[in-house]
């Protein structure tokens, strides 16, 4: 490898420096995962998550580091659960229902955690 090539690769490494995620993203994502496991325990046990016997405990270690996650999770759950139950009455397709609920959780987490 030529010196020029080595220098070019060093520049390339500098140009493509890793990008730190916004602080709010980690918090929101962990909240989403925690909410999902809570809902999974309550409603979604019969789809893919059923492979895990107790989805309630999923991602709990990650949630432990999120300040205020419990209150946020509760709020997300209240809102999502209401819509989920309304949709459940109208839907015969459990997988589709689960997919829509996942998106709903993510959207709700965005609203509950401002500035993310």
């Amino acid at each position: 490898m030529s010196v020029g090539a080595t220098e070019f690769e060093a520049l390339l490494r500098e140009a493509l420096a890793p990008v730190d995620p916004p602080a709010g993203l980690a918090e929101r994502l962990e909240l989403t995962l925690v909410s999902l496991t809570e809902l999974a325990q309550d409603e979604l046990e019969s789809w893919e998550l059923s492979a895990m016997r107790d989805p309630r405990n999923w991602v709990r270690p990650a949630a432990a580091v999120v300040v205020g996650a419990s209150a946020g999770t509760a709020l997300v759950l209240v809102r999502v659960r209401a819509r989920h139950r309304a949709r459940k009455r109208q839907s015969g397709n459990l997988l589709e229902l689960a997919e829509r609920t996942i998106h709903d959780i993510a959207d709700e987490a965005r609203r509950v955690l401002p500035g993310t």
Binding site: A5, F8, E9, L11, L12, R13, E14, A15, L16, A17, P18, V19, D20, P21, P22, L25, A26, R28, L29, E30, T32, L33, L36, E48, L49, A51, M52, R53, D54, N57, W58, V59, R60, P61, A62, I102, A106
Partner: protein, 190 residues
């Protein structure tokens, strides 16, 4: 955990948490350089981990102890492809414009004022998808050939050639830009 697989839920939880914490930055960096803005990079990162969450147990089982970063990046890669397909149906500006890649860069302070770095970023945006992806994985994420090969679904040899050609092509683009008619005018993405 003698076969490398979790024996119980607590271990499975710990493994997913470990994966998430270890690679959030990787997935975000990859997403950012793929889609070119923070808003969509956040969405892509979020969707990637949700997908990973759903399939984690099976991925662990099938990985035979190999690192799961290529699997994660492959999820992001597939989701990004869907993202481009969705965008292509709408009359929006090309997401891969050099301006869009360089403008919202969080490492702007590093790149700003460094014409050589700016021209490299602009050149990366001009590369074919597979070459650009390989460069992002190598230089932004620090993945080795084997990891990149797994993420892209190629052989190690093909990946080595891909990276070599990507760097050569990028050098050519940058040389042409700097020696020829200077950096492209603002808004001129070719």
């Amino acid at each position: 955990m003698d076969n490398g697989l979790p024996n119980n839920k607590a271990e499975l939880d710990a493994r997913f948490t470990e994966l998430y914490r270890a690679h959030l930055r990787d997935v975000y960096s990859y997403s950012y350089y793929r889609v070119g803005n923070h808003h969509d990079a956040e969405d892509l990162t979020e969707q990637t981990f949700l997908q990973a969450y759903r399939h984690f147990e099976r991925a662990l089982r099938e990985s035979n102890g190999r690192p799961l970063r290529p699997w994660l990046i492959r999820i992001a890669h597939n989701l990004a492809a869907n993202f481009y397909r969705d965008r292509s149906r709408k009359p929006e500006a090309a997401i891969e414009d050099a301006d869009m890649i360089s403008a919202p860069h969080t490492t702007e302070s590093l790149v700003e004022g460094r014409e050589e770095l700016e021209s490299i970023l602009a050149g990366v945006a001009e590369l074919p998808d597979d070459r650009r992806e390989a460069l992002i994985m190598r230089f932004a994420l620090g993945m080795d050939n084997r990891e990149i090969a797994r993420a892209l679904g190629r052989t190690d040899g093909a990946t080595k050639v891909l990276l070599h050609r990507a760097i050569r092509q990028l050098e050519g683009i940058v040389a042409q830009t700097t020696a020829g008619d200077g950096p492209p005018a603002e808004g001129d993405s070719k």
